[in-house]
Amino acid sequence: MAQPAATKPSLPARAAPKRRSEAVNGLLMVSPTAIYALLLLAAPLATIFAYSFLTDGYLTVELTPTIGSYVEAWTNEVYRVVMLRSLGVAMAVTLATVVLAFPIAYYVSFYVEPSRKSLWLFLITIPFWTSYLIRVFLWKVILGFNGVVNSGLMGLGIIDEPLTFILYNTNAIVITLAHAYAPFAILPIFVALEKIDRSFLEAGRDLGESSFVTFFRVTLPLAMPGVISAVMIVFIPTIGDYVTPHLVGGPEGKMVANLVQVLYLKLDNYPLGSALAVSSMLLVGLVLVMAAMQLAIFGYVFKRIAGQTPLILAIFTALAAAQALLVVVIALWLVTGSAVLTVALGAALHVVALLALRRKRSAL
């Protein structure tokens, strides 16, 4: 040890970085990536937010502040319908993907031998990595008027005319997107299931609970973090998908991204395009808030009555309590006809309802 110190007098200087605080080291280390993200992600996002409040001039953007783009985006029939459709499709895709993914994740986590789990996950992720465009296009080929499903079923003599409910409409979009996002939903749920301590399940059964009750009271609550990340990772990107509505949606299946693309690249109306993009993210955020509140209300009601009533009854009561608010939200939508307004009011209503429930408990 003495020798290198003697021959290299610069040792104290070289050791100096070690004495710098951990915070400084960490910030220095992350700074190249963080600065890149700041310049090419945060700054552009701030820019479209700013653009959405500017006025559209001919081929230019004028610096006059206005909320005109939002008024247009939220009241014009064309944009209103498209935003509502995008929201509906994203919700349907999320529901379908998560419900379809859960049993797969459950099977791989609970029934597949540990040594073969990696292989299963690899098989599940491969389709995700193969050309997205080609996969979406193949769904058009599969579902189309002369497509594989129709020509196959007609060839076998099962149907006489092509089925029309699966081509060039929102059903086709939902099927295609549910296929595309399946791995995104399976993986987080699988990770959450893997973390569950298997002795909890044995304890549940040892205490005389049926496997259904054990699943509902032990497995499902512990898997919820995975389900929640699956919902986020499917719901947020699907509302802005461009390729699928363009290829399989047909003329009546346009979604927000298609309008944003037209506004940006064809019409050069950056303020309105930006306002639409910001509005769709606002929709996503508010719907997620609403979903979180639904979950919280369900959990709260369920916990209060679980001990005193049979499990099934408790589940249904808690579900009814949470869903009652959705009826109000649907009524709001029917009255206002605006997606953004409805989810904004709905989210506020849910927050108030949950706070009221909580306050009642603390008063008792």
């Binding site: 070289r14 050791a15 070690k18 951990e22 080291n25 960490g26 910030l27 280390m29 990536t33 993200a37 700041l38 090419l40 992600l41 552009p44 996002l45 820019t47 479209i48 797969i104 459950y106 609970f110 990696s118 996950l121 690899f122 599940i124 992720t125 491969i126 389709p127 990595w129 193969t130 050309s131 997205y132 465009l133 080609i134 996969r135 193949l138 080929v141 599969i142 594989v148 020509s151 196959g152 060839g155 296929h179 399946a182 791995p183 995104f184 990770v191 990772i233 990107p237 802005g240 461009y242 390729v243 290829l247 944003v260 693309q261 940006y264 690249l265 395009g273 930006s274 993009a277 769709s280």
Partner: protein, 268 residues
Amino acid sequence: MNGGWFRIYAYGFLLFLYAPILLLPIFAFNDGAIVAFPLAGFTTKWFDQLWVEPALHQALKNSLIIAVSASILSTCLGVFAARASTRYNFPLKGGIIGMIMLPLVLPEIILASALLVVLLGIGIPLSIYTVILGHVLVCTPFSIAVLTAAFQSLDKSLEEAAYDLGETPASTFRLIILPLVTPGIISSLLMTFTISLDEFLMAFFLAGTEPTLPVYIFSQFRFPKSVPVVLALGTVLVVASIILLTIAEYFRRRGIAKTGGKDTGGFL
């Protein structure tokens, strides 16, 4: 304990997942201009046409330049971020890492339109370089996800031992850490390369007059007669990406085994 119904469901679901990919070669080798059953006989003529499309070759060349650049740049940025997040605690860590990982969940249309506005605003002409900028943004979170797993399984005491033996932070990184995370880096390079090669929307917005392969494919969908050729191209791409991913998976597993970690499986 074989799972009964779950097992049947799981195999059924795999079939659903693979249905498009399985149909792809069937129609790529089908001797008919219309993509439908019944099949019309075997042919390789659609593959032969791939050799005589100059526009396709130019698009492929653009895509390869972009994918190689984007994979190297995003993996470099990924190394910094993954190392910082696994080794150090620093203020605003969650916020900073969250911002970097944001492109993973944000719709690409938002990222693409935002970048387009800014690039045009400051007067940068659209070219393959602007596509590289966008692709690095999209690829970095994936690179970080892969590399975090590699860095996480590193034993901190190896690094401390190197410091005690008189190595500098730089030489420790080069001699101790880098060799241990090399498999993770290779895996990240292959994965980001695949993502960049396949990415469509960013390129569609930012490529200007220099289309990438997916942009070229997208433009061909409008012409029914070029569909079989596109399917042939798709078959080649699918085979290529499966090979790349198998190699990536091999290195990812080897990397985790090398540092003594437990394989939790999956890329994400």
